[in-house]
């Protein structure tokens, strides 16, 4: 109990991955794909614009999230969550996984904006970031 409270009340360590991007006022490195450690979790997130069709993006992202969950599993990691939000005009579409199937949720349906956030445990941060960068290459 005491240890838990200590952990909760102590400053987090943010271990950013160095890259060629710029540094924000919080000390994070911005290159499109952001990565840092938080309470033992590898936190990787990105926002990109895709030129593919909305149908292609939905299908490809579903496969990619499944593969990413699988990749975390074979590295003996635990998926906190992997979430993606696809925005096209005023419509949104969410994909999420906690390590098994990818759940899809239509919020209501050019250039499509994709946001992705993955929080996983017991997986190397650098490897996780590289995996997501590789995954996002398909949408550029």
């Amino acid at each position: 109990m005491e240890n838990k409270m200590d952990m909760a009340m102590t400053e987090h360590s943010h271990e950013s991955i160095p890259s060629n991007g710029h540094t924000c006022n919080q000390g994070h490195i911005h290159t499109g794909v952001e990565a840092y450690m938080h309470e033992g979790a590898s936190v990787v997130s990105a926002e990109i614009e895709a030129n593919n069709s909305i149908k292609e993006v939905k299908q490809q992202l579903t496969t990619d999230i499944e593969e990413l969950s699988h990749w975390v599993g074979i590295h003996n990691g635990i998926v906190g969550h992997i979430k993606a939000f696809i925005k096209e005009g005023g419509n949104g579409y969410m994909l999420s996984s906690t390590g098994k199937d990818v759940q899809r949720k239509e919020i209501s349906e050019s250039v499509i904006q994709i946001s992705i956030a993955a929080i996983v445990f017991q997986v190397d941060l650098k490897q996780m970031k590289q995996q997501i960068e590789k995954m996002l290459e398909k949408y550029k």
Binding site: N3, H81, M94, T98, S115, A117
Partner: protein
């Protein structure tokens, strides 16, 4: 509104903290809760306002986009936990919401690695506000999470007033009983509801929660909170 009325309104603000591990279904519960609270209050009085404070780790928020797409106004606190490094951001957000919106309800969705008890303490210590803690537990992967992250899971449960065991549609009845026993082993007196946010949460669950939040408010006013004097 005079100073006394403003103070009274501030201390009557009903706050719910939604905690629980990543992927447990906090945002899904929040969406249904928001609809219920707005409709429930609309039946009892006019001009009910409902505010959401969304705390996410990571530079990119997903839950806030989901909530905004569903038509909610959301205050975001990113890149850290309001239970520790971003406590001052939380206090600032709640104050701002109170000044600009003057809502009846504020729901704070914590990150999946936050300790809701620490958020509640920050609100009490800094603003003198009480908060009701609801923790969402993911029944479908409870055993795995408890085995891998016992400290976090037990820490999220220990200050909870209500636990919603979610994703009951994904598991068998006997597993559900095991999950319930496990939750009780961490917090014997906590109130537990079995839910499936995917299939829809019954209004009776939210009615009970509203009842408890109001009891908590009444207790605070009778005790050491604002007494209207």
């Amino acid at each position: 509104m005079n100073l006394q009325q403003e103070q009274e309104r501030f201390y009557n603000l009903k706050i719910i903290i939604l905690g629980g591990f990543l992927g447990s279904g906090k945002t899904s519960v929040l969406q249904q809760m928001a609809h219920f609270l707005v409709e429930h209050e609309a039946n009892s009085k006019a001009n009910t306002k409902f505010a959401i404070v969304e705390n996410e780790i990571g530079e990119v928020g997903i839950d806030d986009q989901v909530l905004k797409s569903a038509g909610f106004k959301v205050s975001n606190i990113f890149s850290g936990c309001v239970c520790c490094t971003l406590k001052s951001e939380l206090i600032k957000s709640v104050k701002e919401i109170q000044e600009k919106m003057n809502p009846s309800w504020v729901v704070i969705e914590a990150t999946g690695v936050a300790y809701p008890g620490s958020i509640r303490k920050a609100l009490t210590d800094n603003l003198g506000l009480e908060a009701y803690i609801i923790t969402i537990a993911d029944a479908s992967r409870w055993k795995r999470l408890v085995n891998a992250m016992q400290t976090l899971v037990s820490g999220q449960l220990e200050d909870s007033m209500t636990v919603l065991i979610n994703k009951t549609d994904l598991i068998e009845e006997d597993t559900l009983e095991t999950v319930k026993s496990s939750v009780v082993s961490y917090h014997a007196s906590v109130e537990i509801f079995m839910i499936s946010a995917k299939q829809g949460i019954p209004a009776s669950v939210f009615e009970k929660i509203v009842e408890h939040v109001k009891e908590q408010q009444d207790g605070k006013q009778d005790g050491h909170g604002y007494d209207g004097a």
